[in-house]
């Protein structure tokens, strides 16, 4: 007889039940059904983690993502057996983590410029993380569709609140266990399960969320997210699967800052 595991949310570096204590059944398990308040708590945790995570060196963020790839790879058999995880999906997810682990310290060179202005000034532009990013993972692929945008967001130094696939939430919850053992600081990534329609309006309208990744939304959801986002000029990004491994996906969650200084004796 096997030892059953209670699956929990990954929130602020801890494994917790929904504050509402509610669950729903998915993939044969009772899974936390998160509420607006869980979203609120997750955004607060992500905001608190932002200064630390964005303040790490790019090299260090790369090391953490590499560690996450190691941890996921070590559990690939277990994750691969989960219902709904497609053949090769775990390997691809490991690949995505590695890809972004190697991108962190390339972003400034791919997305930055030195600007040859017509005057005695030195000016340069560099990408900086936008802040807290909401991620709406697609129904399928439940793991890769979450890992790819999450790795992109983390690689640039932003922190994340991700809503897992409602029908296939277990891969996301296992991913939480992977991240928890990867030296990722608490709050940098927060993974919530439950019904999107309960969480999404709160996430999209949250004034302290800087960007929302909507590739997991249907058309109607996306329209609502975009409407709510307008209240605080929140960026809305949709990442197509063919851009899952692209520096431009990471750069979509970054702002460009231009700095000027006079040149003189």
């Amino acid at each position: 007889m096997d030892v059953r595991k209670t699956y929990k949310l990954y929130l602020n570096g801890a494994f917790v039940r929904s504050e509402s204590q509610r669950t729903y059944e998915a993939q044969g398990m009772n899974v936390p059904r998160s509420t607006r308040k869980d979203v609120r708590d997750a955004v607060r945790a992500a905001r608190a983690a932002f200064a630390g995570w964005s303040g790490r060196t790019a090299m260090n963020r790369g090391q953490v993502l590499y560690r996450a790839a190691e941890m996921l790879d070590a559990r690939s058999a277990e994750v691969g057996r989960l219902e709904g995880v497609e053949r090769g999906e775990v390997a691809q997810s490991v690949e995505a983590l590695l890809w972004y682990a190697g991108l962190t310290d390339k972003l400034a060179q791919l997305g930055g410029t030195v600007n040859p202005v017509a005057g005695p000034y030195f000016t340069f532009s560099m990408p900086e993380p936008t802040g807290v990013v909401g991620i709406v993972a697609p129904e399928r692929p439940a793991l890769l569709g979450l890992v790819a945008p999450l790795a992109a967001v983390l690689s640039g130094g932003s922190t994340a609140v991700a809503l897992a696939s409602p029908a296939l939430p277990l891969p996301a919850l296992v991913l939480g266990e992977v991240l928890a053992t990867s030296d990722l600081p608490a709050g940098a990534a927060n993974l919530l399960t439950g019904r999107h329609r309960e969480m999404l309006p709160t996430l999209a309208a949250h004034r302290d969320v800087n960007a929302v990744e909507v590739s997991g939304c249907d058309e109607e959801e996306r329209r609502k997210v975009e409407e709510a986002a307008a209240d605080s000029v929140t960026r809305v990004v949709a990442t197509e699967p063919d851009q899952w491994l692209s520096p431009h996906t990471a750069l979509a969650f970054m702002e460009v800052k231009t700095v000027w200084h006079p040149v003189g004796r």
Partner: protein, 498 residues
């Protein structure tokens, strides 16, 4: 035109109170205006021709320095916008398929034409918008021409600019620009759009449409294919029709955060692209070790340039406590030497407020500052009897919670706050929903970079302020908008991929 009497009144009293005054006043130095011919009635520019609007609305464009009418512009309605979008759609295929090097030539031509006719455009800009001729002549026009020149050069290098992305133009771009830098904003919008192979429908602001309409004549001289650039004039309803038009592939807007949010909401679910360049409430931070006289000049340039009608204006001065008395003393004296008056006078530093509506907004926010307990300082400078004017204004004793420290005033009004540590300066600078620009003044290099890293803004000016260049990306964080204008980053929003 400003009458002689007004100009004399402005110069006579601008400066002096001592007994040498009469002997050492500057003579008026008005720029001649005969270079510009302004038709009494303007039309829309659609498909390469000036056409009468279907819409019946008419708007009188005033000279804000005299309140005299300059011309009448037509208010485009939904049908006019539709006509303009169709013209742009028809022009898109041939324009986007034109050999890129040839597309570049057209954009180069526009740049050269802006240089050739720069004085004419500068005078018109100052007449229509109230900005000092010194500025339209030395800043707006050279930068507008430089923008076209810069982006012309990208037109045939897109594959090198965006390797592995297969760039392609988007289609018809709808662009809406504000009244503070009418021609320069037109350049920021049109130059990258055309270089990328798009066609455009642009709506200038209703108080400052004249230079955009004169630009149409440059398009004619450049023999730009009809429909590549279309200009529709009008107010908010025209802008609204443009944003809502299904033929528009992308919207680019520069203006207030309020309207920007409205546009973002309107475009929700449409799948159309959007870039927004919105308001700001920039902190200009002066440390005790700063070169103080340069900092004073930078502060003045930061907030009184263009009457403070600048989205990235340094409207919050943060001074390190130990030098606050000295800096403020120097600043007050410097304010006393600013010349407010006739925009066409080559000695004018601060011109006319753009419109009565804007003047009223400034007045009401300044009144709120006084009411909330801030201490107001304005130099002794008499203002002309007619026209829209506001004295350079400095508020001390300002708390971070006051409206004048939080809301964008978009006028020549500076709020002064103090700080003790770099951490406090950063915290105060970032304590706003905006995130467009910031200034930092210190002789310590490591502190500049430390500050620059921490300020959540799109542009940091260190030991300088309000510098612009076509090669340098410009744009905001948070509620100051998204997307960049200028540089390689400014080209990207006008391209699709694959």
């Amino acid at each position: 035109m400003t009458d002689q009497r007004t100009r004399e009144a402005a110069t006579e009293t601008a400066h002096g109170s001592n007994h040498h005054a009469a002997a050492w006043e500057y003579a008026p130095a008005p720029e001649a205006t005969d270079i510009v011919e302004i038709a009494p009635r303007q039309r829309l520019f659609i498909g390469g021709e000036f056409v009468d609007a279907h819409g019946r609305g008419r708007i009188t464009s005033l000279n804000p320095a005299t309140e005299e009418p300059l011309s009448e512009i037509q208010e485009a309605d939904g049908e006019d916008v539709d006509r303009a979008v169709r013209a742009a759609e028809a022009a898109f295929r041939p324009w986007s398929r034109l050999r890129p090097a040839l597309r570049a030539r057209y954009v180069f031509r526009l740049s050269r034409l802006l240089q050739e006719r720069s004085r004419e455009l500068a005078v018109l800009e100052s007449l229509d918008g109230g900005k000092p001729i010194k500025e339209s002549r030395d800043v707006d026009l050279p930068l507008a021409a430089a923008h076209f020149f810069y982006y012309a050069g990208w037109a045939d290098k897109l594959e090198w600019a965006f390797p592995n992305r297969r760039p392609r133009p988007l289609g018809v771009v709808g662009q809406i620009i504000p009244w503070n830098f009418p021609l320069l904003m037109l350049a920021w919008k049109i130059a990258p759009a055309l270089a990328a192979g798009n066609t455009v429908v642009l709506k200038p602001a209703e108080t400052t449409s004249l230079t955009a309409l004169l630009f149409c004549d440059l398009c004619r001289q450049a023999e730009l294919p009809p429909g590549v650039v279309n200009i529709v004039t009008g107010g908010p309803s025209t802008g609204s029709a443009l944003v809502a038009h299904p033929g528009i592939a992308k919207v680019a807007f520069t203006g207030s955060t309020e309207v920007g949010k409205e546009i973002q909401r309107r475009l929700a679910g449409s799948g159309r692209r959007l870039t927004l360049e919105l308001g700001g409430k920039a902190a200009n931070i002066v440390f005790a070790d700063a070169a103080i006289d340069q900092a004073v000049e930078g502060i003045v340039n930061g907030i009184y340039f263009n009457q403070g009608h600048v989205c990235c204006a340094g409207s919050r001065l943060l001074v390190q406590e130990s030098i606050a008395p000295l800096l403020l003393d120097k600043l007050r004296r410097r304010l006393g030497t600013l010349r407010v008056g006739d925009p066409l006078d080559k000695n004018t530093d601060v011109g006319a407020i753009n419109s009565r509506a804007q003047l009223e907004r400034i007045e009401s926010l300044v009144a709120s500052g006084v009411e909330e307990g801030a201490e107001l300082f304005q130099p002794e400078c008499p203002l002309p009897d007619r026209g829209y004017w506001f004295r350079p204004t400095l508020f001390t004793n300002v708390a971070q919670s006051f409206r004048i420290a939080r809301e964008e005033i978009f006028g020549p009004v500076l709020s002064v706050l103090t700080f003790r540590t770099p951490e406090e300066a950063v915290a105060k600078a970032n304590n706003t929903a905006y995130g467009l620009s910031a200034g930092v003044w210190t002789e310590k290099g490591s502190r500049i970079l430390w500050m620059a890293e921490r300020m959540r803004v799109g542009v940091v000016w260190a030991n300088t302020f309000n510098r612009f260049d076509p090669t340098a990306p410009f744009g905001g964080y948070r509620e100051s908008g998204f997307g960049r204008e200028g540089g390689l980053h400014g080209l990207e929003p006008y391209l699709g991929w694959g």
